[in-house]
């Protein structure tokens, strides 16, 4: 299994190609949308490229859930994610760093969860999982 650094470097190289950005622009905490300018078609491209690069299968909606709550009032109220919603997020995206988000859980900030580091953590989990099988 590749080391953490190797995974991060490969993820970073994948993002350089998919998003047409310079490698220097990619930091572990760069957000895909805000910092790197990713659009919806880019998220799909990233998934396809990661699958090819790491030889894994990424089920639809697992890495980038298209709509996390579908406007469910139990999960979202007044533009903020509820306690229940946070629990749902933790369950669906165990690889995301939710602590900072939980301090000010505005729905509009969800896109900030999608960082370079998050993808690397997700891949690491995926590879560990397939290594067990």
């Amino acid at each position: 299994m590749p080391t953490q650094t190797e995974i991060y470097e490969k993820v970073s190289a994948t993002l350089v190609e998919a998003l047409n950005v310079d490698e220097e622009d990619i930091k572990p905490d760069s957000t895909l949308q805000g910092d790197l300018g990713a659009e919806s078609i880019d998220f799909l491209d990233i998934v396809f490229r990661l699958e090819r690069e790491f030889g894994i299968k990424i089920p639809r909606g697992e890495l980038f859930p298209e709509s996390i709550f579908q406007g469910d009032p139990d999960f979202v109220q007044n533009g903020r994610v509820t306690e229940k919603g946070l629990a749902e997020l933790r369950a669906k995206m165990p690889f995301a760093d939710l602590d900072q988000f939980a301090a000010d859980p505005q729905v509009s900030h969800i896109s900030d969860l999608f960082t370079v580091e998050m993808i690397a953590r997700y891949i690491q989990g995926k590879l560990a999982e397939s290594g067990k099988n």
Binding site: N20, E39, I41, D42, L44, D45, F48
Partner: protein, 254 residues
């Protein structure tokens, strides 16, 4: 040469408008893959003509209604020339008949070929190579009959109207990757397909409804296709360009 070193794939490329586009692209320096369904001889003739003129062309048999065949055809072209830059969805059929007598078979054949073929080939090029290489041109051949309808063409009009909507919707999705998606809506063009309609209508009527007083030629459509494939149209996407000598303006000569 406006398309030097580019590779283009043209469905329904052996005859009529498709052949006109293939020849025009080749003259502009593109290598062209001519996709045909049944008319092998015509396809090979077109290839022969292009090669004799110093161009590069290839004839490939494919039924555009098959998604797998579309994928394979695109793969063959990329294998042959190592790239693909331009897709022209031109393959189309008519099976006219008044609606109350229209069999599902006539509906399905027309929709599956005209619209399904566009879907199958767009799908075969959209992600790989177009999205991945951040460039690509898709040109769909529609018809003025999408908006200015004729009796007996519910199936054909529906298929062409759908192509126009599809063109706009796909253009929006692919624009950020530098890919343009446009359509050309020809009027009455002199081809095998329109021959029957023209025979029925007669010269006189044609002159009455076409302000330019002549039928279109495949070259009239091909010139616009070259423009939509060339750098000159880089900022145009999601448009349906009517090329009909004024037919759709609706003026009838006295």
């Amino acid at each position: 040469m406006q398309l030097k070193d580019q590779v283009a794939l043209i469905t329904g490329g052996s005859r009529g408008i498709g052949r006109g586009i293939a020849e025009a692209f080749a003259r502009e320096g593109a290598r062209v893959a001519i996709v045909y369904k049944g008319s092998r001889e015509a396809a090979e003739q077109t290839v022969g003509k292009i090669v004799a003129a110093g161009g590069a062309a290839l004839a490939l048999q494919c039924d555009v209604t098959s998604p797998e065949a579309a994928q394979e055809t695109v793969a063959r072209v990329r294998q042959e020339w190592g790239r693909l830059d331009i897709l022209v969805n031109n393959a189309g059929v008519i099976q006219d008949g008044l609606f109350i007598r229209m069999e599902p078979e006539a509906w399905n054949t027309v929709l599956q070929t005209n619209l399904g073929g566009v879907f199958n080939f767009c799908r075969a090029v959209a992600y790989d190579p177009f999205v991945r290489q951040r460039s690509g041109r898709i040109i769909n051949i529609s018809s003025v009959a999408a908006e200015h309808v004729n009796q007996g063409q519910t199936n054909y009009a529906a298929s062409k109207g759908a192509i126009n909507s599809f063109t706009r919707a796909l253009a929006v999705e692919l624009a950020s990757r530098g890919i343009t998606v446009n359509a050309i809506a020809p009027g009455f063009i002199e081809t095998d397909m329109s021959a029957a309609v023209l025979n029925k209508a007669g010269e006189g009527l044609i002159k009455k409804v076409i302000p330019m007083r002549r039928l279109g030629k495949p070259e009239d459509i091909a010139a616009v296709a070259v423009f939509l494939a060339s750098p000159a149209s880089a900022y145009i996407t999601g448009q349906v360009i009517t090329v009909d000598g004024g037919l759709s303006l609706g003026a009838v000569a006295e």
